[in-house]
Symmetry: C2
Subunit: 305 residues, 2 copies
């Protein structure tokens, strides 16, 4: 079955009210925010990625979901495979560094053996606290769409990690994303909707609009690109289309009423309106939507949430 | 590295106070109890086990940890692989049945693709509420050791699941364990220490004694065996030694002050005293300890926690 069918079946199970219909970055339980993500070797990371970077990414992608709910991390549970001595040691050293960098602690977990030759599968469940936990579904007509940081680095970053292009900055963007925890806490108090950009700016914006029962316009020319990205891909329309569909950015995408300035550095990239669907413009010109808005999880290769 | 080395390194990381030094069945966060367990195909279940039974077992082993902390389930997060159509459908049907049987709900999760041919890896994180959450480490000198239900069925149950012996009852004990949720809630109010028997009665009793800073005596002749077990293995000393080292029982092992009767059906199987280490007796005769007290997770085959 496709992931969409699988998810539809899960949604028909008895759901906790805090599950938010399995459509948000995270679940809520009182003031607690709960999220979990699994990384699979050869799907979400490369066998050649340094083990310490895999530990970093495992924590980062989960803490990014907490950031998107304005949450302060409380602790993480980790489900880890015993694998090969050198890899395990480097992984655990990277884990120590990442816990320190993100200011969080281990609260539980499980360690398992895998059959010989099986790809590593690693799960993190992160728990945070947020007084408000903005939903993906809270945007209102007239709200503007904003994004933190820059978009698109992880796409060519995967090529850099594979050695196909030479850019340590892009490679690190792919291997060591930085969850926007401080920004998320500040934004959590004021936004009407928020999500992290894990699958691609376009698809995550489309999901926010659909969840909010609105239409959204994205202004391609406004999408912020990094110097490292432009050095490799340029900044023309094709480069911008590639950036907004690449995924693995872990920036925060959020909605604010028109006229309200965000309390953190961010770029205005679009707006919500009554209606449905997505419109893509480039300097005022309406563009056809690309065939693929981002990662939909049905494929198995490359960068997936 | 061995699992013991791996765990020692994890314990040296920044730990949340609710982590209980990663030595208990579950972590605590206020009144919440958190636990997570991963099942790996060909390690914790057989590729030939029905998918619906795998769903049942995934929930059951986690809810058993909640039972051991006297907790009422609040919800589960599930990290699931997309695999093959028929398997996925049967798994999801089994999941619906298990959620209903255990009276709990889905609160979140993640769905991933695995590389072709990779063994399935499934994770459940269960959250419950318990006003008290008795620790594994709370036994006191003079306390008596008790266990619910019967011990040892899952050992020959694995052989039954492999078709090596014919016993549907034992096979089901292996495939569809029943977490002792109601018993755990009643016991949680009165016990001094509690754990579930996941790796074997002897090793789990030894861990409870070590965590409590005490010695423990286990009375082999008192260990309760099922009719199905005795029909296949008998009830002599060898059969009893096999039962107490087999694991995957998911019964509750607990300590109560001498003279206090448990509020649920249970069997008195031993006692704690000042000192350290384990003594095994059979009708008053002291026995040498078996070389292996249960599953220590370093092996990869068969029944492991």
């Amino acid at each position: 079955m496709t992931e969409a069918e699988f998810l539809a079946t899960l949604r028909a199970l008895p759901l906790h009210p805090g599950a938010r219909d399995l459509r948000d970055d995270a679940a809520t339980l009182g003031e607690l925010v709960l999220t979990t993500d699994t990384l699979v070797e050869d799907v979400h990371f490369l066998p050649t990625d340094p083990a310490g970077d895999v530990a970093w990414k495992l924590l980062a992608v989960n803490l990014s979901d907490l950031a998107a709910k304005g949450a302060v991390p409380e602790g993480v549970l980790l489900n880890l495979p015993l694998s090969e001595d050198g890899w395990d040691r480097a992984f655990l050293a990277g884990l120590a560094a990442a816990l320190a960098a993100f200011g969080t602690r281990l609260i539980g977990g499980d360690t398992v053996s895998l059959p010989g030759g099986a790809p590593r599968v690693l799960t993190c469940t992160a728990i945070g606290r947020s007084a408000r936990a903005p939903a993906r579904s809270g945007a209102r007509p007239g709200d503007q769409l904003w994004v933190t940081g820059t978009i698109g680095d992880a796409g060519p970053g995967l090529a850099a990690a594979r050695g196909e292009i030479d850019s340590p900055d892009l490679r690190d963007a792919y291997r060591r994303p930085r969850p926007r925890l401080a920004e998320g806490r500040a934004l959590g108090q004021v936004v009407t909707a928020m999500a992290d950009v894990s699958d691609g700016l376009l698809i995550d914006a489309a999901r926010m609009a659909a969840a909010s029962g609105l239409a959204v316009t994205v202004r391609l020319e406004a999408v912020p690109l990094s110097g490292a990205y432009m050095a490799v891909k340029g900044a023309d329309r094709a480069a911008r289309l590639s950036a907004v569909t690449a995924g693995d950015d872990y920036e925060l995408l959020f909605a604010l009423p028109a006229g309200v300035a965000p309390p953190v550095a961010a770029t205005w990239v679009g707006a919500f309106a009554a209606g449905e669907g997505m419109t893509l413009t480039d300097a005022g010109e309406s563009l056809p939507l690309p065939g693929r808005l981002g990662w939909e999880h049905d494929g198995g290769a490359g960068v997936a949430d």
